[in-house]
Symmetry: C2
Subunit: 279 residues, 2 copies
């Protein structure tokens, strides 16, 4: 029987956005093997109901657990916000780590004025998971949650610079960071959480419409750190050195996964590395 | 047994976009009953593979056929482009009408210079269904197919006027309608087909970036006319007068369906008119 520490880490997202988390994990733990599943047949999760996202999330978890993993990373904010407890209940023997709590932790550690803005998908904001996670760490924090669904489509389309993403970012974020003078609440957030794994690609456009002192936080690096701490605690860090492998699974259109995934991962994914699965 | 002419027309789309077709159908045939299914749990179809779209389309067809319908309208360009023959094979007793062929027919009847642009989702353009449908009517037509995936997200978000949709439309369409001087092919299309049921909402923004003489064609009205002709031919027009009823089915989040659907239909849909179904 394979030693548990030798097993891969499982990771899933609704699509390719979670590859920004994989990239951070690879940098923090280059020796680990990873199986990444993108549920592209049913993306996006961000406009769907908690019931549907939970069902999809548990199905993704089942696929990865059936292949033998030592830890499960929910590399999708929407699924982290909605399906985490269902996943922990369904797979009690596998530690499950989401991206919301690490993102909330990072935000609380950098804010100076206690005012934090969170941009995410419609479902993540409506569900209130970030608000709860931040308040459980900093009960006095002031939180502005703002759904920015179009950022997902922009990142998927590869329109990450130029006029369009800046115009979209301004339309979403001006009410938060540049409110009309005389607006009721003058405490401009000093911290902005990118609460969707697609959004780091749009950070340059977002940066242009936020005040220069705003700290932009994404949960990828903090999540990778959390995974490292958890595996260390459980004594499940993969022994030895050398490069870990990555297996890619997708529920639809392997060539498209490879093409758009390359943009998110920052290094090439080839079509024949991607396995099509049916959930 | 209910007379076949008394049965409703079934209609499906990946989401709420097909309600633009329902609107046209209601105007042409106010007496007919309609069952409309929006597969919102799995939208969008436009970035998915032919295999997946076909599977989803046949499942939508099964749900509607099981409820008793006299004709099936595929009110989604992507599904029309990919799943029509599979649907006809699966349900040989029910006439199946898509939106691609009516749209192609409308374009061929209005173009004067034989140059037609088609904007649609990535999958619809890549599959070539519009190109084939237009060429089967006008073999000499010159066709420019252009994927415009972000239009779907804009329409869903309700951003149908202002700077952002115009900037998006310009980025997509300037290469087609305002090519750099000295470009190889100078025959600017005089006809633009909106090959996605979401796009009619963005017609005002699209209009601003196309030359004034461009005719913008959407397939909703032509599809309604095709349904009328088919039912007349089959002697299945519903007898009598008065208003037909509409039943709404959705695979996810009835309140969201009602909210966004109202925008596409142009008349209110209330949450309790929408039935949640599991495919």
């Amino acid at each position: 029987m394979k030693n548990v520490a030798e097993l891969p880490i499982g990771m899933f997202d609704s699509g390719v956005g979670g590859l920004t988390v994989l990239k951070a994990l690879r940098q923090r733990m280059p020796c680990e093997d990873v199986i990444y599943l993108g549920d592209t047949a049913r993306l996006p999760y961000g406009t769907k109901s908690p019931q549907t996202v939970t069902r999809y999330g548990v199905q993704c978890g089942a696929e990865l657990v059936s292949r033998g993993i030592k830890l499960l990373v929910v590399a999708c904010n929407t699924a982290s916000a909605m399906a985490l407890s269902a996943l922990r209940e369904a797979y009690p023997d596998v530690p499950v780590i989401g991206v919301v709590e690490p993102g909330a932790r990072a935000a609380c550690s950098v804010t100076k004025n206690g005012s934090i803005a969170v941009v995410a998908t419609e479902s993540t904001i409506a569900g209130g998971a970030y608000q709860r996670a931040i308040h459980s760490i900093s009960p006095a924090a002031r939180i502005v949650g703002h759904p920015c669904s179009l950022f997902v489509a922009l990142a998927e389309e590869g329109w990450i610079d130029g006029d369009v993403p800046e115009a979209v970012a301004a339309r979403y974020l001006d009410p938060v960071f540049n409110p009309a003078s005389g607006a009721v609440d003058p405490v401009i957030p000093d911290t902005l959480v990118l609460g969707c794994t697609h959004f780091p690609l749009l950070a340059p456009a977002i940066r242009k419409v936020t005040p220069p002192e705003t700290v932009i936080v994404d949960s990828a690096a903090t999540t990778a750190e959390t995974v490292f701490e958890e595996l260390t605690l459980l004594e499940l860090i993969r022994p030895g050195s050398g490069c870990g492998t990555t297996a890619y699974l997708t529920t639809d259109d392997a060539p498209r996964f490879a093409r758009t995934g390359t943009r998110f991962l920052g290094t090439p994914i080839t079509e024949n590395e991607v396995e099509l699965v049916d959930l």
